[in-house]
């Protein structure tokens, strides 16, 4: 292979990064193009560098490893490095190249690198662009699969250019479908912020706890805690009135779902 393999190291602990750097120095085909100490930095640098491979810690401040991946499109090839073995299954779900358990030795890292090289060669041989691979699941779908059944997101991550927003789900007032995007409206009255995220509403709805968020309409997902009342405008035409007076349409099936949840 003539092209060097460009890698990014992401770990919030400096010794862990220096260990990787030291191990990787023995592999002349590998070039470390960036080191990041947190998830925000990782999203930014990986977006800029488009590396061939990312060494990614899972437990990090602000954004964990899985959330970093969710914000990156296309998702880079990843080798997870963590002291926790309970995420191995999730790592498999997001198609990680490998999963290194700290502490690990040179040989184990060399094995993981070899896998990464094989995968890269395979991708290069498959001349088609990454987007052309039919049936490739989206980052959001992967994140849903990784979370596992019965568990729901506690926060939503949104990338806005170079900025990353982390929105705790309890702060979400409602979510509105806008073509291929969703507009996530935060609580906070007139000064309320809203964030655009490239994700279908159905997929976002799937990641949220159905006991807290109800699809009241084809285009609206509503935090039930924020509903002040439901008003009947005409036969089969209802609106949900929020605590701040805002009104959202409620479809007939949406009303059925609300009734089922609220009794």
């Amino acid at each position: 292979m003539t092209e060097p393999m460009r890698v990014v190291l992401v770990d919030d602990e400096a010794p862990a990064r220096s260990l990787l750097r030291e191990y990787l120095a023995a592999h002349p085909d590998v070039q470390v193009v960036a080191e990041c100490a947190n998830g925000f930095e990782a999203v930014k640098r990986i977006g800029e560098q488009a590396p061939d491979l990312v060494f990614l810690d899972i437990q990090m401040p602000k954004l964990d490893g899985f959330e970093v991946l969710e914000l990156l499109e296309p998702a880079p090839a990843v080798i997870f490095c963590t002291a926790y073995d309970e995420y191995a299954l999730q790592a498999f779900e997001v198609h990680a190249v490998d999963y290194l358990l700290k502490p690990f030795g040179r040989e184990r890292l060399a094995d993981a690198l070899e896998r990464a090289r094989e995968r890269r060669a395979l991708a290069a041989a498959r001349v088609a662009g990454p987007a052309a691979v039919a049936g490739t699941p989206s980052a959001g779908e992967l994140a849903n699969a990784a979370r596992g059944p019965g568990r729901y997101a506690e926060r939503i991550v949104v990338r806005d250019g170079a900025q990353v927003h982390v929105i705790p789900v309890e702060r979400i007032e409602y979510v509105e479908a806008q073509d291929d995007y969703v507009a996530i409206h935060e609580q906070g009255g007139a000064a309320a912020k809203s964030h655009l995220k490239h994700q279908p509403l159905a997929e976002l709805a799937e990641s949220l706890d159905p006991a807290r968020f109800v699809r009241v309409h084809r285009s609206y997902l509503l935090n039930v805690e924020r509903i002040a009342r439901i008003e009947l405008l005409a036969k089969d035409q209802r609106v949900a009135v929020l605590a701040d007076g805002r009104q959202l349409p409620v479809s007939r099936s949406g009303h059925d779902r609300l009734k089922e949840l609220l009794g």
């Binding site: 100490a37 002291a83 502490p103 690990f104």
Partner: protein, 359 residues
């Protein structure tokens, strides 16, 4: 429900035993009013079986009037009244039974006076027989009570051991060990002397943890020394992100505390505070004596955007459990999230130790 009525096999035993009691009764009746043996048995055996069920009522009387803490006059009078009632009921059953036998069984010939004499015997026998049943029930209840007490003692012991094991296991958080080993692994290449120091620190920390964990009580000073070893190791991992502020009153360090309480609180502060913050922050450790109380505070900054924690987390729950294991009834553990600071306060009675040399 009466324990003898709960199982058919036991019930059958009661019926057979009662039937055997019918033999001496038949003999007494036979002696007082001579009659053929089969006739005496025909009357006495069913009567005794009927009485067995009447006598079982002693169970409820005995449970109501316990004698586990000594025999009271109330219990005695209650039992005497019950005995009189039992024998009256028995005699009330005996009268129609006797009449029925005279009318239907050929050869069962008793005069009215004979029947009355039989009923007199029944009335007299009923009282001691009931009291016998009451004594048996009291015996049964006291045996049951002592078994229950034994079981309770065993159960508390098992719970205490379990809690202790859980606490010790939680003490040696495997992820802390894995991450520390990874840091040592990293230092070996870049700073071999640092790697050696960290091996030494980790070994010292583990040894102290095991030694303190084996004792019933340690001084806060010893706990603080363990925390320093722990912080020394975490400092390598977190670098500048981990800062520590200490405000420890020398008087407080001599106080006796249950072992291995402080380090989990500090570990919690790092795990749920410092680790979530990009720039890290300062863990504050305070200890002082206020009157008769020792107050220990561990405070850490938290990321306001981190998902809100439900409950108080495993670390605090473990500390709470340890306090229970050590029977520290006067201890008080509370936590509060104020603004961007999370603060855990531990209040214990301030008992000055003998310098912590006891083992």
């Amino acid at each position: 429900m009466h324990p003898l009525l709960a199982r058919p096999a036991r019930l059958l035993g009661v019926v057979i035993l009662a039937a055997l009691f019918g033999v001496p009764l038949a003999w007494v009746l036979h002696v007082l009013t001579p009659r053929p043996w089969p006739a005496a048995l025909l009357f006495a055996v069913p009567m005794q079986v009927a009485f067995a069920f009447i006598a079982l009522s002693a169970w409820w009387v005995c449970r109501r009037h316990s004698v586990l803490e000594g025999i009271s006059g109330r219990a005695v009078s209650a039992q005497l009244v019950a005995a009189l009632q039992a024998s009256a009921i028995w005699a009330a059953i005996g009268a129609p039974w006797s009449v029925l036998l005279v009318r239907t069984v050929p050869g069962y010939d008793l005069s009215r006076l004979d029947i009355l004499r039989d009923l007199g015997v029944i009335l007299l026998a009923g009282v001691p027989l009931y009291l016998l049943s009451a004594v048996a029930h009291y015996l049964y209840l006291s045996i049951e009570a002592s078994h229950a007490a034994q079981r309770r003692v065993l159960e508390t012991e098992v719970t205490a051991r379990e809690a202790e094991l859980r606490a010790l296991r939680a003490q040696l958080n495997p992820h802390f060990l894995f991450n520390s080993l990874n840091s040592i692994n990293a230092l070996v290449g870049t700073d071999p002397e640092g790697a050696r120091r960290m091996c030494e620190g980790l070994g010292d920390f583990l040894r102290r943890t095991l030694a303190l964990g084996a004792r019933d009580s340690v001084t806060l000073g010893e706990e603080l020394a363990l925390v320093e070893r722990y912080l020394g190791i975490e400092q390598v991992r977190f670098g500048d992100r981990l800062r520590v502020e200490r405000a420890v009153d020398p008087q407080a360090t001599a106080c006796q505390v249950p072992p291995l309480l402080l380090q989990p609180l500090v570990e919690n502060a790092i795990k749920h505070g410092i680790q979530d913050l990009l720039e890290g922050g300062a863990v504050r450790i305070e200890a002082r004596v206020e009157g008769a109380q020792l107050r220990v505070v561990v405070e850490n900054p938290v990321d306001p955007e981190a998902p809100s924690r439900r409950g108080e987390g495993v670390g605090l729950a473990n500390v709470r459990r340890r306090l229970e294991v050590f029977g520290a009834r006067d201890a008080h553990l509370s936590s509060v999230l104020a603004g961007e600071k999370f603060r855990v306060t531990l209040l214990l009675p301030a008992i000055a130790g003998a310098g912590g040399t006891r083992d």
